[in-house]
């Protein structure tokens, strides 16, 4: 057998469990970023000056230790690496699972297709992840590059946001994406912490699941407040 000479550490590093841990850690990094991103978004409610100053401030955090936009680029690189590793692990495990379960048609009986106790969110992880990845591209082209500019392009970040979210279908597209993110976080937060070893008892399980619901709800609602605030005319 080829694996006989490997040390336990090397065997462990090549295992599906290590791949899951990689997915968990990169997922939690992205969750951390989402919380910071949401905090920035909510500044839209304190007005144009506050929001635009915050956006500019992100570029000179850390100066002069870091160059101009230094922190922003560090965050961008960390996020890009996280996304790539997260997707790599997901695709590798997805392909393995498809074969392992014996193909897409597993049981002839149609009576337990929804499983015994599994959550709806757990069904959405893989295709939901694909939807979120496509959304991120659309979102970067919209509000970062401003190549897609429904409602008109603008230099002011505040104006870009307001121009875009006055249009109902822009808000709708973001709403669908945020629901996908919420479902992804419902199962993802639970699964990441369990993979990293936090599911140590029935009580711990209840706590982690409660935390996952809170994280999913806070992120989804927190991100949807600005678009709906603008659509309903609360922010102009």
């Amino acid at each position: 057998m080829a694996t006989v000479s490997l040390t336990p550490a090397k065997k462990a590093a090549r295992s599906t469990v290590a791949l899951k841990a990689l997915m968990a850690v990169t997922g939690l990094i992205m969750l951390g970023y989402l919380i910071a991103h949401m905090y920035g978004n909510l500044k839209v409610f304190s007005g144009r000056a506050s929001f635009d100053n915050y956006a500019h401030h992100l570029r000179d955090i850390g100066e002069p230790v870091l160059p101009h936009t230094g922190l922003l680029w560090i965050i961008r690189v960390v996020l890009l690496v996280s996304v790539i590793l997260h997707a790599y692990a997901a695709i590798a495990l997805w392909r393995r699972a498809r074969v392992a379960r014996g193909g897409t048609k597993r049981y002839v009986s149609p009576k337990a297709r929804r499983g015994v106790q599994r959550s709806y969110a757990s069904f959405t992880m893989r295709w939901g992840g694909v939807i979120i990845a496509l959304f991120v591209i659309y979102h970067l082209l919209h509000l970062t590059a401003n190549v897609i500019a429904p409602g008109g392009a603008a230099g002011s970040p505040y104006q870009r946001v307001v121009n875009g979210f006055q249009i109902w279908w822009v808000v709708l597209s973001y709403t669908i994406a945020m629901i996908a993110v919420g479902l992804h976080l419902r199962h993802g937060t639970w699964s990441a912490l369990t993979t990293l070893g936090a599911n140590t008892s029935a009580a711990a399980r209840r706590r982690i699941n409660a935390l996952a619901y809170v994280v999913a709800a806070v992120i989804t609602i927190g991100f949807l407040l600005p678009p709906f605030g603008i659509l309903l005319g609360l922010v102009k």
Partner: protein, 248 residues
Amino acid sequence: MNITLRVWRQPNAETEGRMVTYGVENVSEHMSFLEMLDVLNERLTLEGDDPIAFDHDCREGICGQCGVVIDGQPHGPLQTTTCQLHMRSFADGAVIDVEPWRAEPFPVIKDLVVDRGAFDRIIQAGGYISVPTGSAPDAHATPVPKTDADMAFDAATCIACGACVAACPNGSAMLFTAAKVTHLNLLPQGQPERYSRVAGMVAQHDEEGFGGCTNIGECTAVCPKGIPFETISFLNRDLLGSLIKGNR
């Protein structure tokens, strides 16, 4: 009661299988599911038909031999072994679907019988302690904290039936592997091989072609022994620990 069975019939590993419908009449609600299959098999034999092959042994829920997917659920509607499931769990006139465990590492041998040799090879990769046997040591020679003893015992009740794999949407055997790792790694006797055990068993688990765990929990929900979900987190901790401590 009278029931209709739709059973997976497959003469051997090489031939394609299909669902075949059988009516079974005058079934007593006190029969176990396997006894009901025995009654059907007697009739099939008398009619010159090939009886339905299924694994079974102790028929008291402790050996782990029996196990079929009933109405899409491993071991059927109750969280017990198939031999401990009784016909009173079904309605008169019910149509019941019976299929073998489905997973790539569990190939069908015949009808409802699958080859679970993959589990044996996972055990061979570390599910033991390497000590020479001798006379039994004094019971109080090696103190074990009560909570550790309890959890190790809960994990040790795994009968390796394979229902966890059959239920897992990823075809993962993580609950089985985790039960064995937790059982031995919580006890003093398991410590010398703690990290080589977990790394070796998980490597063999992957080698056999089982899928990765996504913490969905279908495994523990169908496990006839109620192996706790937390055994998987215990395995994960030791596996990640072996990344650092497993260099020998």
